[in-house]
Point group: C2
Chain length 231, copies 2
DNA sequence: CGCATCATTGACTTCCGTCAAAGTGGGTGG
DNA sequence: CCACCCACTTTGACGGAAGTCAATGATGCG
């Protein structure tokens, strides 16, 4: 069972009030489609039905951050000001997404406390996603970041009791998520493979061989913190 | 006026509904006091009245992250599950904080849509704080991170039209916020001082000499992103 | 006045980013 | 069906930036 210790609390399943579900419409996307644009109007909230997506932030200097990955069941685009802070883009070859008109959801929330509670919950989820990434970004070494990431991608994924790893996103996406160069991501994966901690059947699909070790790697590196000067 | 481009949208002022304000009680803290504990019950939300505080995450391996700094007007501890993900600790010698019982606020939100809206807004603020830090953490060089940080600490601070910089927190706090070593933070500040971009009257107090340059430093470094493979 | 905490500086080493090049695989069109 | 192409992935060599270790300065509080 090995209770997972750190950043990997994911919120995949979500039971919505039917009053809210009824507002949804579905849309099909193909790989690389933009669901919504950064700085564009935030008219809808979304939920992945099948496939996968990513949230990106394009910075003024042209750099790209991948802020989070979205898997089936994940909801996103609800906790945002009038204008999207990120863009949402599909990753998987074909992705189905349920779309909720935000203003109607919000109107519903005014009268239905249960819906309001769910909206707050969605905000919490968004915070959690961000915090997951932050945790990973504070790890000083590439080995720790990549290890964390692999664990993150296996834990909490629906129907994944075993140790299989599926990476729907490219190495570039991973690199921009972990704030590393592609080369470093690739090298680190190779190293994990050579150390027989994971095995990869193909570039994007494999399994964990030694989960405990991976866990240790992800928390590895000597403490470099300056905790509690005042007890 | 040089519109600030990037990570520095802060949300200092906050007009709360009086129905919510009436729930508040005040408390005095001294430097280093813990306002609430990570993994402890989240019974209250808070607002800094005077002084300053930090949110910290202690990781299982013993490392500390400083997740964010809280200045007068900032609200925090509202957007959290039953249990605090962070701890909250005061930084300033004496800090006054308004305390809102969460369950009463939430109960109020069930009947008062305006309060509910404010709660969502607070979630947005939390997201914004996290995203500020994330933006900074993705900057590859220490110069960029420290420059961003200085700008972050001057922009949006109430009543700071000028270029004065006040750093209520220690170098260690800054280091744990930027995920750098203390030495690197110190060295980088020294370098900024030598290049006459900032001046420091004391370790924690100074002013910006060349804001434009600081801005450039904070966005410096060649793009290292892998944007839009599929345009 | 003295100690403890915080801050700075220096020397050395390691890790990662950059540049460059080769390898892989899947999809499309001939 | 095959071949080509393009996007993606991997690997290698090199240099620079930041972490670590160690020591010295500053500052503030008792």
């Amino acid at each position: 069972m090995t209770a997972v210790s750190c950043p990997t609390v994911i919120e995949r399943p979500r039971d919505l009030p039917t009053s809210m579900q009824q507002l949804a419409s579905r849309a099909q996307y193909r790989k690389g489609d933009t669901i919504y644009y950064q700085d564009g109007p935030a008219e809808y909230g979304y939920q992945i039905v099948t496939g996968a997506a990513r949230e990106c932030a394009l910075q003024p200097d042209g750099r790209r951050q991948v802020v989070g990955f979205l898997m089936p069941g994940d909801m996103f685009g609800f906790c945002t000001p009038q204008v999207h802070r990120f863009s949402g883009e599909t990753i998987a070859e074909t992705t189905t997404i349920a779309r909720y008109p935000r203003h109607r959801v919000e109107r519903l929330a005014e009268s239905d406390p249960e819906v309001a509670r769910h909206l707050l919950q969605l905000a919490n989820d968004a915070v959690e996603r961000l915090q997951n990434r932050m945790t990973v970004l504070t790890r000083p070494t590439a080995l720790e970041r990549v290890s964390s990431f692999i664990l993150y991608m296996t834990d909490g994924v629906a129907g994944n009791a075993n140790n299989s790893v599926v990476l729907p996103m490219s190495r570039y996406d991973i690199a921009d998520y972990l704030a590393l160069s592609v080369e470093t991501v690739s090298r680190t994966l190779t190293e994990l493979r050579q150390r027989r901690v994971v095995e990869l059947f193909s570039a994007r699909c494999g399994s964990i061989i030694d989960r405990a070790l991976l866990q240790r790697y992800s928390e590895n590196g000597e403490p470099r913190s300056h905790a509690s000067q005042w007890d």
